[in-house]
């Protein structure tokens, strides 16, 4: 059986096998976002009230061999929380020794202005950023982006996370990158 298929029509995704970790300290918004994820058909939603709790849970999941304790597929985290921030959580994820945690797709949700948060999210290694207020359209778009537009991960001495450049555009100014693409090590995970 092969999982590689080709199709010209647009697939309608089913998220029933997805497990999403929502990290949000405000109970009202926990309920609201959980309800929205259920409306998308997400099969399993786990809620933590802060980064500290989420780190503990992800550590247990990473070390567990039990089928009941499978790793989550996407982390959706708030930015500003009293018990550990979203920034703290994403940095912890990207620095984790276990690849099942290290490469987790993360969506940063924040009430701060879009320009600031998109830049910070990019620099700490978030896959996507969503500026509150949350709407069905915005949340669906970010989830679809994580599924359909995954970027390669970059491992360098200064950064680990998704490639911060979404598009390869011609660069007209002075070249500041000291390494040419030919000198980079490129690995492709196999099925």
């Amino acid at each position: 059986m092969s999982t590689i298929r080709q199709s010209s029509s647009t697939n309608t995704y089913s998220l029933k096998n997805f497990s999403v970790l929502l990290v949000e300290d405000y109970e009202f918004l926990q309920q609201l976002i959980t309800g929205m994820l259920r409306a998308f058909g997400v099969g399993n939603i786990i809620v933590c009230s802060g980064a500290d709790e989420a780190k503990g849970l992800l550590s247990v999941m990473a070390s567990s061999k039990s089928a009941d304790m499978r790793m989550v597929d996407i982390v959706l985290t708030d930015w500003m929380m009293t018990e550990g921030s979203g920034e703290d959580l994403i940095k912890w994820i990207r620095n984790h020794a276990n690849d099942r945690v290290k490469f987790l797709p993360t969506i940063l949700v924040s009430a701060f202005t879009s320009e600031d948060i998109v830049k910070i999210a990019r620099d700490i290694g978030a896959n996507e950023a969503l500026v509150k207020p949350v709407s069905g359209e915005k949340l669906a778009k970010r989830i679809l982006s994580v599924i359909d537009l995954p970027r390669p991960y970059i491992k360098s001495p200064e950064y680990f996370g998704p490639d911060r450049r979404r598009k390869e555009l011609p660069w007209k100014k002075e070249e500041r990158r000291i390494m040419t693409p030919e000198k980079m090590k490129v690995t492709h995970e196999k099925l």
């Binding site: 298929r5 309608t12 918004l29 309920q31 609201l32 996407i74 509150k132 069905g136 001495p157 196999k190």
Partner: protein
């Protein structure tokens, strides 16, 4: 000694297998997919249904802000930072809550209070005046049920009160 040519590259590009796409029912070479046609509408209905809870919730949040503010005013220096952080978080939640349901005036004051608190340690009396101005106008916006920026003259007046306090006491 290894020459620079022999050294391991410092940058690695890792292309992960797109397991999420497979899990969602797509094929690795398929184009972009979509969620089922009614799902976004259902998600927005969740938001709409919860909007009836806004008046009670915002009342609770404003009461929490009041309580946290009283605690800061009477706290010792060593406790203040933690309490200030808590209050800035509550102001942020007011912004989140109000913004979700289109109460843009309350959202504005929540963001303004949060940003002001994040810039200060709330140790000076002048700073107290600015915080108090925010709390007062948020109370008015709630009692008068002012929803958005076109709430008219009163909304503008409340915004002016806050900006005047910030200008005068900063």
């Amino acid at each position: 000694m290894k020459s620079s040519e022999d050294m391991e590259p410092e940058v690695e590009v890792v292309h992960k297998l797109n397991r999420l796409k497979i899990k969602a029912g797509g094929g690795l070479t398929d184009g972009p997919g979509k969620l089922d046609s009614g799902s976004v509408e259902r998600a927005n209905t969740v938001v709409q249904n919860m909007s009836s809870l806004y008046p009670r919730e915002i009342k609770n949040m404003l009461a929490a802000l009041d309580k946290e503010w009283e605690a800061i005013k009477t706290s010792e220096d060593k406790d203040r930072a933690k309490k200030v952080k808590k209050m800035s978080n509550t102001a942020n939640q007011v912004k989140d809550l109000a913004g979700t349901f289109g109460y843009t005036l309350m959202e504005y004051f929540g963001a303004s209070l949060r940003d002001y608190i994040l810039k200060t340690d709330l140790s000076l009396k002048e700073q107290y005046t600015i915080v108090q101005a925010h709390i007062d106008v948020m109370g008015v916006a709630y009692r008068e049920n002012l929803k958005n920026d076109d709430g008219g003259a009163l909304g503008e007046e409340l915004k002016k009160m806050v900006s005047t306090a910030i200008e005068k006491y900063s």
